[in-house]
Amino acid sequence: MEAIALTHAPAHGHEEEYTTTGIPHDKMGMWVFLCSEVMFFTGLIGSYIVLRFATPLWPPPASVLNIPLTAMNTFILICSSVTMVQALAAISRGDARKMKLFLCLTLLFGATFLSIQGVEYWKLVHEGFNPHVSLFGSVFFTTTGFHGFHVFCGVVCMAFVTGKAFLGKYTQARHQGIETLGLYWHFVDLVWIVLFTIIYLI
């Protein structure tokens, strides 16, 4: 079936691309990518659950992991999600100054999350808890490490988008890049919400 893509400028001045699905191509692409990411993390979380149920002597997470520190890190990632969505809301109403401010804050929160995770890893390794010390150590570092890598990729992309924002590349009519990156960023936050509960609290 031939895809029909039409571009037109509606009365309110927004230049929007209309497709057969009614969803812009880059946004649809990001959603399909995120669906594949759901399966990726489901594989990791599923492995964790299966291994945990199969192992009779699993240490209580609170006895090994620093829950208050990670709870604070969870709060920081939630803060980054709200600043990201506020950046999109700001440019949607034409406020470029606030968009830049919120993008910078998101970048800062993302970098802070990674720094705290780095400190957590450093402390754990120095206390003797590392990927090859136990099954828990192995799945903990694999799962949280892959999530951390996703946050790192998000921070790199965020730096790029923030740079473009300061160069004035986003306007009220054209800001799809911010929404697309925002989807990825919120997904990373969503995955952390699940990981924090399953790995740290249960």
């Binding site: 969803i23 959603w31 399909v32 594989g43 969870t74 939630i78 999600s81 809301a89 925002g182 509960t197």
Partner: protein, 96 residues
């Protein structure tokens, strides 16, 4: 640009709900005796599901998107649940 026009949600209200649920989760986990495993798991998974739903619906704007996108995402989640359930079945089902 979210597909279609919609009223901007109150993002700060969503943020405070997420922060509150995180605090409740941590308190629930530390206060509930770990012998109450089923209650602990059900409660915490419930809180996490509510938080994840809030992020997906309001921050990712899934609530305001077309139904077709919801079907795509929903199918993925169903497949994810099946994947984990099949893995868990090894422990739930009686061994031959």
């Amino acid at each position: 640009m979210v597909t279609g026009e919609h009223k901007t949600p109150n993002y700060m209200a969503i943020f405070w709900w997420l922060a509150a649920f995180t605090a409740v989760e941590v308190a629930y986990s530390s206060l509930l005796p770990h012998s109450e495993k089923t209650l602990l798991i059900l409660g915490l998974v419930g809180f996490a599901a509510i938080k994840a739903t809030l992020v997906a619906l309001y921050f990712m704007h899934l609530k305001f998107e077309r139904k077709s996108l919801g079907i795509i995402v929903g199918s993925t989640l169903i497949l994810g649940v099946i994947l984990v359930s099949v893995g868990m079945a090894e422990h739930w089902l009686p061994r031959p």
